[in-house]
Symmetry: C2
């Protein structure tokens, strides 16, 4: 009967290892006053190829991780009113633009300084660009700080950053294949901007009109929650089709439901999120492979790239936010630091095209992991004197 | 950039197709007074190879389906007190035994009557044995009927049925490889019985002792829900290791938490379940392939096998339940009819060993699907004069 066992045991074993280790690590980190999610990411490093090699990233784990970050951004969106984001729109735009230009220039310059070729330099610059807002959003959500002005600026800027990142990626991919299609590029940009703007602007009122009807008119149970899930999946898919990340769609879906949803919707979304988020966090840690860092030059380049990545977002995103005072500028700068999976995808494309070497890829993964790990403690410190305005219990703190 | 799109779109597209179609079908079925989950299974047939061929069963979908049925049984377990199951234990034991012997004998006899060889006949008999309790549990849970005596008998008998099914499978696999290891068989049986009995008997009191401490002593948020999830995964894994289905472990985990858990735990579990169950139901429908039914003999054999499968459970499981009156006997008999994925697994093993032909496999899949489809309407009818005793709102009816 062993052929039955091996296959049937695979899923529950993986679930237990990933979820159990993540939650034990989270508990240990909370006890020493550190954010639990840093522990969960490090649980991924522990389970991954660098240390125990008990869990390999596979299709199932990737899917659960992707679902996890989709639900994370959906839940964050539920707490955010679109109108609030539009209020900080101009500042967020400047934050996003400076936060893209500076890392790109500095990343590319660093690459050149390390003697890499022009195409590689462009890919390093591009990989340093895109903020991955999941980690910051989770920290702010858990601490009930999503209503803070700095949080609103971070979320709005992250959405714009994603569109800019799309354009950078399109240009860079075009350069690697040595043809840039300017009209195509402009069309891509226009569609992405139109999609994001239209959903952010009209999503809330559309949902507010349909939401009560659905409960009243449909025969099936929990139809409102199912309707919300269908919107999450549909907008995530549309986001991918227009070229931005799926999580931008999930976030916009959450925002569209923010004014219509009730406590029950939030609890149900919360249950799914609590199950899935550890797979996202552990998945980040699993990407890291210590074996890639055998050569001293790789280590030095990784350290320099990480430092540059942190400083350029701090400065690039912090300066435009100075209009809201020094404190908010620091908060915004820190919140935009994590690169997460987006930078890794850029580097993977370069690797796939054969224009980026393995050491550069390893350095980008290291940068993505470290920028993600330093953010939660820094955010905790920067927001230390904020009183949570969102009901903490919604995120299970009570 | 199309290489980015295709990969990134895969998951949200699949999620939208499966979840969206399932929920639209559920709504249509509810409107014509039929159980929504029948619609969701048929949505799988529609999306699968027989009709549209838009969704192929892959590793990700199987994992979500498996998670879905695990959470389904966990949520059902949360509503069940172990002590109640032990009260109906003796009847449930007889229900399970007669409900295994009769389908096995009739299935094997039918196979012989259709001129199939001895080994094939044994596999057909074995595939007709195991009740898949997920569908029945979902119907009873949604209608708030889990407190009914007939429901308790069904759940207890289904757990025992699973252990007996394990033994049948072990014997049959041994026969196919023409050696039966009697001491090994007895050990397997003893371990499976001991595991199930010990968790059912002592799970509740263990959890009741630890549950409040966890909330008090741990620093991380939602630690009780995380603790419950870890128990679900751990018991599901243990169940697989001792040889029974993972969902038996999930059910036992739910039952262990039934007396300690509060409303919040149920809401969180409910959110995860609502997200995942459609993937389980659609997954059942996806297994069906109309192309396997080109020959008339396959169609006739499938129809006969389905009829035998329904009648033998009705009679075999109904008769011992007559001690509780005719009405409960009919309810128990119907509740034990669905075979679901367990019969398919048996046939797959036979297919893998090369002792079962493709037409027989197709017939087993057809039988599994049809027994699953007829159960919900029959259950609705059999339980039509029961007043729901469990708070319906827990399953979202209010």
């Amino acid at each position: 009967m062993h052929f039955v066992h091996a296959e049937a045991a695979h899923l529950p074993l993986m679930l237990l290892l990933v979820f159990g280790t993540a939650k034990i690590a989270a508990e240990l980190f909370e006890r020493i006053g550190q954010p639990g999610l840093v522990g969960e990411i490090l649980a991924g490093v522990l389970l991954g190829p660098s240390v125990l090699n008990w869990v390999q990233p596979d299709a199932i784990l990737s899917a659960l991780a992707e679902l996890g970050v989709m639900f994370l951004l959906f839940r964050v969106g539920l707490e955010i009113k679109g109108s609030e984001l539009f209020k900080v729109g101009k500042t967020a735009m400047l934050v996003a633009i400076a936060g893209v230009l500076l890392p790109f220039a500095a990343g590319a310059a660093l690459s050149v300084a390390f003697g890499q070729n022009r195409i590689e330099a462009i890919f390093v610059g591009a990989a340093a660009v895109a903020t991955s807002v999941g980690i910051t959003a989770q920290v702010l959500a858990v601490k009930g700080l999503l209503d803070e002005r700095a949080s609103q600026v971070i979320l709005a800027a992250a959405v714009i950053d994603d569109i800019l990142g799309l354009l950078v990626l399109a240009v860079v991919s075009g350069m690697a294949e040595s043809h840039i299609d300017i009209p195509g590029l402009l069309t891509t940009a226009a569609i992405a901007v139109a999609f994001t703007f239209l959903v952010a602007r009209f999503g809330t009122s559309t949902v507010r009109r349909w939401y009560p009807t659905i409960e009243r008119r449909l025969a099936a149970r929990e139809s409102q929650f199912h309707f919300a899930l269908i919107c999450v999946f549909a907008l995530s898919l549309l986001a991918v089709y227009v070229g931005v990340a799926a999580i931008v769609g999930s976030f916009l879906a959450g925002m569209a439901f923010s004014e219509a949803s009730d406590r029950r919707m939030q609890d149900l979304a919360h249950g799914a999120t609590e199950l899935l988020v550890p797979f996202f966090l552990v998945g980040i840690g699993l990407q890291f492979n210590l074996a890639s860092f055998r050569e001293t030059s790789t280590i030095i380049f990784s350290a320099a790239l990480t430092l540059i990545a942190i400083l350029t977002k701090l400065i690039g995103c912090g300066l435009p936010a100075l209009v809201y005072g020094r404190r908010d500028a620091v908060r915004v700068g820190i919140g935009m630091v994590p690169r997460g999976e987006v930078g890794m995808i850029v580097a993977q494309i370069g690797l796939g095209l054969g224009v980026v070497g393995a050491p550069v890829y390893a350095a980008v993964v290291c940068m993505a992991l470290l920028t993600t790990l330093v953010t939660p403690p820094l955010l905790n410190y920067a927001f230390r004197d904020c009183k949570p305005q969102v009901a903490k219990e919604e995120f299970g703190l009570v």
